[in-house]
């Protein structure tokens, strides 16, 4: 695949990138060169992500979702990804975190259910 990696060309589909760019409502026009550059930057970005994942991974031969969420959490430049690549939390741990709030909620729900029965 060495011939595909010429500096002046892209591996990612330019037309698909263009579609994503155009989905932004405030964008009017996109120059050919800027379309090329955004496509190229996205390729560089993906390379950078995988490089960071490999550096930080517990097992450098098997990259998992957690390796990604870890670097998103830690790297400032990846802050824009925090909402879409959240850390996974075990249900058990989640309940422990919200334990008190949950029982308060259950109490409130219980009271409301009682009121409905009475009316």
């Amino acid at each position: 695949m060495a011939d595909k990696e010429r500096a002046g060309s892209c591996v990612l589909p330019i037309s698909r990138i263009k579609t994503i760019m155009k989905s932004s409502p405030e964008v009017s026009n996109i120059g050919q060169e800027s379309l090329f550059l955004i496509t190229k930057s996205t390729e560089l970005f993906v390379q950078e992500l995988s490089r960071m994942m490999m550096t930080n991974a517990a097992d450098g031969n098997n990259l998992s979702y957690n390796d990604l969420s870890q670097i998103v959490d830690e790297q400032e430049t990846l802050q824009f990804l925090q909402d879409i690549i959240p850390k996974k939390v075990k249900v058990r741990d989640y309940y422990a975190l919200v334990g008190k709030t949950k029982s308060l909620q259950q109490l409130t729900e219980g009271e409301e259910a009682k009121k409905e029965e009475e009316t």
């Binding site: 500096a7 002046g8 060309s9 589909p13 932004s24 800027s34 560089l44 970005f45 098997n62 979702y65």
Partner: protein, 133 residues
């Protein structure tokens, strides 16, 4: 909008034997899409600041600086030089063919092989991707 299969098939320079889980691939794909949106929005802001309606190459470079991806700047600049050169060569080849046709060297209606053209191939492949949807 998933970009990912192509990335992993052809481009991510992972050493042989490195596996990436399905969850991770999906997430990276989403991250790539969000990156495009973020970069576009950022570049567009620069274009608007300069009272332009078209995003230029410099707007994109400024956006990378703004997003703190300074390490991308030099590779992007070199790629841009290579890209412009290729575009120029394509244009010149096209003009030469046109001239040859006008002078009767190549009969009308005969299309000449342009040779391996990555950006066109990429666009065609892009079309294929859209058809798959």
């Amino acid at each position: 909008m998933l970009l990912l299969d192509r990335i992993f098939e052809c481009y991510v320079q992972l050493p042989d034997g490195v596996n990436v889980s399905k969850d991770a691939r999906l997430a990276i794909s989403k991250a790539a899409s969000v990156f495009v949106l973020y970069a576009t929005s950022c570049a567009n802001t620069f274009a608007v600041q300069h009272k332009r309606k078209t995003i230029s190459a410099n707007d994109v470079l400024d956006a990378m600086k703004e997003m703190e991806f300074d390490t991308f700047l030099e590779p992007l600049k070199s790629s841009l030089v290579a890209y412009k050169k290729e575009q120029l060569e394509k244009k010149e080849a096209s003009e030469r063919r046109k001239k040859a046709r006008e002078e009767g060297v190549i009969p009308e209606g005969v299309t000449e092989e342009v040779g391996d053209n990555d950006s066109e191939a990429a666009e065609e492949n892009g079309k294929d991707e859209e058809e798959e949807d």
